[in-house]
Amino acid sequence: MNPLVDQIVSWIMVFSGSLIPALIIVFLIGLTGLKEITKYEAYNTFFYKLNPVTKFIFLIAVIALISTTIWWIGAIFSSILLFSFLTLKDGVKRFSYASFLFISSLLGGTWDTAPFLSYQALQRAFPNQNFTVIWVFPSYFTVMGYDKELTLQALFFALQVSFRVAPLILSGLLFVMTTSTAEIFRMFTKVKVPIPITFSVLVGVRTIPRIFELLDTSVKMQYIRGLGYGKPKFVQSLLIVEAIFLAIVPTIVYLFKGAKNMGISAATRGFMAYPKRTSLEELKFTRLDYYFFVIIALIIAVAIIANILGFGRTISTAGGF
């Protein structure tokens, strides 16, 4: 192939690897969509009724499952998690946002890992296999840490890695969207998490949706000020990426000012007066929690059985990671 074309295609691959997931997030989810899937809203279905401790244990079980078993178990589990978004408030909308985020994290994760995988690493994961080279990068790409040859196996291996991250993101979102701040506070206190850490989590949970809201305002203000004026519509749309980048500093500054108020408000209401807190509502375990503990037990059982049957993460001969 023409060396110039080689260069151009290689660089397009480099940029599109980061750009495509970012564009999925920006255009298909949007800042308001991100706000939607990071904020709690009261509702009355299954996940909302669970004790937060149960959900927290579920999160840990998910981590245990995906970190000890073969990738496709994580993939199956991701799909189950994804469909459970349909049970949430505005389920279809949240399911679609979560799906885009899922796809974006798979694409981003795969592309951010695959070109860096060395031949030796791949040999351990896929012993006795001939590798199919799908692209050869210019030699100077090794300076950026790229392996010279991109193989089909590297892509497959990277996809498997991504399937380990995706369920974590999904279960984290499920937790945030179905647990109120007071429940998180009470639950963390119950499991003896130090109060400063609890407070940080609390401020984070409360602030994240606000970040997207402020970014959205800042971005729109840039368009009102003429960003993209006189340019074709698709260029105007693409400029949102630049606008988001420019909006980060004023958003963070604004949030810091608000965080100061929040800190004062909490501190003048006795926050950290004692290492413990009492609780207005006792976090009770209902029958639903016990049913869910069965599911958690099943998850752990799957992890154990998968390992016994040779589908554990450490079994390289299974042809996976």
């Binding site: 009261a42 701040t181 500054v253 604004y254």
Partner: protein
């Protein structure tokens, strides 16, 4: 017992070479209610932050001298101990609430202080009843109005049964209805015998609830008077840029020392502010916006006359901000349904145009406009808009900097400027594209009178240059002094419109009250 005893206090913020607050002596007795007022940046918040222990325990500063509250040494006691005695309510209700449900917010302080559950339930019920939010206990915080949210946080503070309360500008970010609710609540709190410090710009509104007025300026207490002496000091307060009603200044000039309404009726005949009629129609918009559930948020028409300032008032949630956003094309169509959208500026139809095009005809400033500053120098900020619109030249930039009095701060970071300067940078940045119609969303919120007056004068200057302005505000005094027209919005519709003189008398049922100045002026002219 004394509520506050201060001697030889000096507070110097880290990085500053001179103290931001110096108080030689200040005593406030238990059960006393004190109004602390003064221009923004004068040291009011620093003083109350020392009294409630936020300085030096939370905000680090060098402190000298002695500060005691209820015999407790503030500097050597920890903040949680001080907070048992003094409850604090801050200005912005949105940033104070940490919880999702009202009841959880009210319980927050009690849980922190390890109050047993039975006692907690008793206290929550009690404080919710005092603050009138008992019926809201299971409501989600994000569905509350500003006034309801402030009352929720106040209930949380009262549930801790403090001996004193510090209310730091508790009404500056909420609508007139919310303000009324909070002021009624203050009256109740006074009846409970709780000591009180209110930091507030609206002197006249809180006067009946306090015993004493402290004025802080330049980091010092420059006036400490009894509330009955206010008329006698009305001219001094006015010269300090504080919000003193005009009729009080008149009384002072007439040699009176107390408020005498009979005297005012006979002798006080001020002429109303000059109001412009305007020329043709600068902006026409018709909007129908509803929620996904089918409830109309906005269903109204609006028309602005060229070269006028129109104020838009109404309760929180009446649709004012949605109307402005709808005109600008800022509504998120994933969240709401825009059923009808007609926007014309000087007869140019913008209904189908996007933000970029609308921005060339209509300038818009949101309430929290700081998030629009994307450059780290004032001149770059304005140049950003000019370059976007392809009208940048050094000469034009100089012209704009000079027109908005920004030449001296051109190299400064916009985010580090004073409120007045920041607003001028923001206005310059949105107007430089050539827009002749300006929409401002609550620019008076949280501002002292000095800054509101400055804003009013700036807007009048822009009006003289031919701009047409629509201001969403809760500030009746600002409306009376600076606007040509007043529109009232309720449940998504503009229900009243006309000159303030025509609209104010009919506006009470929509939660809008005119100022006493307006009332006295109109009574005396009858």
């Amino acid at each position: 017992m004394m509520f506050v005893e201060i001697e030889n206090l000096k507070v110097t913020y880290l990085g500053k070479d001179k103290p931001s607050l110096v108080v030689d002596r200040l005593n406030i007795e238990e059960g006393e209610a004190v109004l602390i007022t003064g221009k923004s940046g004068g040291g009011k918040t620093t003083l109350v932050s020392v009294i409630n222990g936020v300085i030096p325990h939370l905000i680090k500063a060098e402190v000298e001298g002695k500060v005691k509250v209820f015999d407790l040494d503030v500097f050597s006691s920890n903040l949680s101990k001080i907070s048992r005695y003094i409850g604090t309510l801050l200005q912005d209700p949105d940033t104070q609430a940490l919880n999702y449900y009202v009841i959880d917010e009210v319980a927050f302080g009690l849980e922190n202080y390890m109050v047993p559950r039975d006692e907690m339930i008793k206290r929550i019920e009690e404080s919710m009843k005092i603050t009138g939010i008992y019926d809201l206990k299971n409501r989600e915080i994000n569905t509350l109005s500003g006034g309801e949210l402030q009352r929720t946080v106040l209930a949380s503070v009262l549930a801790m049964r403090p001996k004193a309360l510090i209310l730091d500008e508790p009404t500056s970010n909420i609508d007139p209805q919310g303000t009324k609710e909070i002021l009624e609540l203050i009256k109740k709190i006074r009846e409970e015998g709780i000591s009180l410090i209110i930091v507030e710009h609206k002197i006249e509104r809180v006067l009946e609830f306090v015993d004493r007025i402290l004025v802080i300026d330049g980091g010092k207490i420059i006036l400490d008077i009894k509330k009955d002496e206010i008329v006698d000091y009305a001219d001094v307060l006015h010269s300090l840029g504080l919000e003193v009603p005009d009729y009080m200044i008149f009384l002072k000039k007439s040699g009176l020392k107390v408020i005498d309404y009979e005297f005012l009726k006979k002798n006080y005949h001020p002429s109303p502010p000059e109001r412009k009629d305007g020329k043709g129609e600068a902006l026409y918009a018709k909007l129908k916006v509803k929620t996904k559930g089918g409830n109309y948020i906005v269903d109204t028409e609006i028309s602005l006359r060229e070269g006028t300032i129109t104020a838009l008032m109404g309760r929180n949630g009446s649709g004012k901000t949605t109307l402005l956003k709808g005109i600008m094309g800022l509504l998120d169509k994933k969240q709401v349904i825009v059923e009808e959208e007609k926007v014309k500026v000087f007869n140019i139809d913008l209904s189908k145009e996007n933000l970029i095009v609308r921005g060339a005809y209509i300038a818009y400033l949101p309430q929290f406009f700081d998030v629009m500053f994307v450059k780290r120098k004032v001149e770059d900020e304005i140049a950003f808009s000019m370059k976007n619109r392809k009208i940048y030249s050094k000469e034009k930039l100089e012209e704009v900097l000079s027109a908005f009095s920004l030449t001296e701060v051109r190299k400064e970071d916009p985010l580090l400027l004073s409120m007045g300067q920041r607003r001028r940078v923001a206005l310059a940045s949105v107007l430089v594209g050539g827009a002749k119609v300006i929409l401002l969303d609550e620019p008076t919120s949280g501002q002292d009178w000095y800054h509101r007056e400055m804003l009013g004068k700036e807007l009048q200057e822009l009006r003289e240059k031919g701009y047409t302005i629509l201001v969403v505000t809760h500030d009746s005094r600002f409306v009376d002094k600076f606007s040509d027209y007043l529109y009232i919005m309720d449940k998504g519709k503009i229900v009243l419109k006309g000159k303030p003189e025509e609209v104010f008398p009919k506006a009470e049922k929509y939660g809008i009250e005119p100022t006493m100045d307006w009332v006295i002026r109109n009574e005396s002219s009858c």
